[in-house]
Amino acid sequence: MSRANVIDLGYLVAAVLFIVGLKGLGRPRTAPRGNLMGATGMLIAVLVTLVDQSILSYQFLAIGLAIGIAIGALLALRVQMTSMPELVALFNGFGGGASVLVAASSFIEINELGNSTGQIAVAAAVTSLVGAMTLSGSMIAFGKLQGRLTWNGFRGLPIVRILVALISLAFAVQIGGFQPEGQLSLWLLIAGGFLLGILCAVPIGGADMPVVIALLNALSGVAASTTGFVLDNSLLIIAGSLVGASGLVLTQIMCKAMNRSLLDVLFGAAPSAVDSGDDIYGDQVTSTSAEEIAMLLEIAERVVIVPGYGMAVAQAQHAVRELMQTLQASDIEVSFGIHPVAGRMPGHMNVLLAEAEIDYEHLLDMDQVNPTFKRADVTIVIGANDVVNPAARNDPDSPIAGMPILDVDDSRTVVVVKRSLSPGFAGIANPLFIADNTLLYFSDAREGILEVTKALTES
């Protein structure tokens, strides 16, 4: 068997492992094995690539691989579960960035050897644009998730964005159609894509982050796939488009959970800021204390806990587990109601609660939990806001009208644990806070839950 045959066969095995692995990742029982299969496929693909005849020197490869393995493993092993959205954003960006570099490097090489074709030029142009957008968009998302970046853009941003998009498109057409040798055009296109990624990501707020992260995930796949067109490599095309498609499915799920279209998230007007919470709610809010909540919980039979981003920020997941165990010890039924876009990335709450060793049987999806709120004696909302806002259901003029929400207001008593009355990310007033059956407990999520558990055990 020739070297080329070995490589192609290896790629086929890798492609099959990716497909089976991705399928495995979709079921709880098979997910760990699916991940392992994907990793095995990757290892096989890398090993057979190393026998490629066109690889002449191995020293840079060894150094590059060693650095990458060290940094990747370090990041993955040391990251806090609460910082998972940042890490996923970072990895998405690196994938997109790597694709740009590969496309640029190959494009230059192919041109200098005089082998360029229209296909390669167009593919290199698309990869440059998509990959650079993925890289810079991910960096912006990373900064926003870390809370270091608070810039939300400027007045004329949408117009500038269109201009940059048109200029980038012009460079892309130039590379693809008229001047396949254009190295300068390629660099300008990459710069344009980079700028475009920033301009698209900057106006997007925290509540839309799950959509953005899922979309960036899809884009990193698309970039890998188009790189395959540049290199004439079937495995890149297959693996990249698999990831692109699955990322798109996830993006769609997230958009549906917010009742918004993807275009609306990306290009819609950012919600305008409103007055501070005190002005909206006045003195109609009933506040409560840990002792009072403990008394309510003691006589409850069914308790539902609804976590949101506030639980992640306060790292309250372990405190929540303790509360759950205390309640279960007195035969109180506890379940968790999880909105698909609670937190900052798809599945954010599930990861945090799993870290706190809360069984996923207790975690209910929106469709499962909504009919049960009527039977709930107490619902505790921890750091969630827009996903429990009844205005989405009742007020057709609300900016979030039509968004599916958790019907927590159906339960007998709702306890909202919140640091202050500041409006949620969307800047929308929440009528839940002034409802007759709602009690507000002003506290940091972790401190507050610990207090409640203490009050429960002391009584």
Binding site: F18, G21, L25, G26, A31, N35, G38, M42, V46, D52, S54, I55, L56, F60, G64, L65, G68, G72, A76, L77, V79, M81, M84, L87, F91, F94, G95, G97, A98, S99, V102, A104, S105, S106, I108, E109, E112, L113, S220, A224, T227, N233, I237, A239, G240, S241, L242, A245, S246, L248, V249, I253, I338, P340, M345, G347, N350, E355, D359, L363
Partner: protein
């Protein structure tokens, strides 16, 4: 590979991807994302060829950085996914 074959592969893989991930429980959204993201680091094999081809200093440097970025993406992605998934299954094992 002709352009038509490349497009055929692309189209079929997209449909396959859409079919594979139609119904995923919310619990797996994050691991699915990080795991599939690691797979998209497949661009690494292109990076290896670029960095090792010894064509010119520029292409080698570009390839080298591509190898670093893609390896972080691949290794980090699979390891962190594995870490998350082992959290999901940890309790199960202890009980049984």
């Amino acid at each position: 590979m002709t352009l038509l074959i490349a497009f055929t592969l692309f189209t079929l893989a997209v449909f396959l991807g859409l079919e594979l991930i139609s119904k995923v429980p919310a619990t797996l959204h994050t691991p699915l994302m990080s795991g599939s993201n690691a797979i998209s680091g497949i661009t690494l094999i292109g990076a290896l060829v670029s960095a090792g081809a010894d064509h010119s200093t520029l292409t080698t440097v570009l390839g080298f950085f591509a190898v670093v970025l893609a390896t972080i993406n691949v290794v980090g992605g699979f390891v962190v996914t594995n870490r998350m998934l082992s959290m999901f299954t940890k309790r199960k094992k202890r009980e049984s």
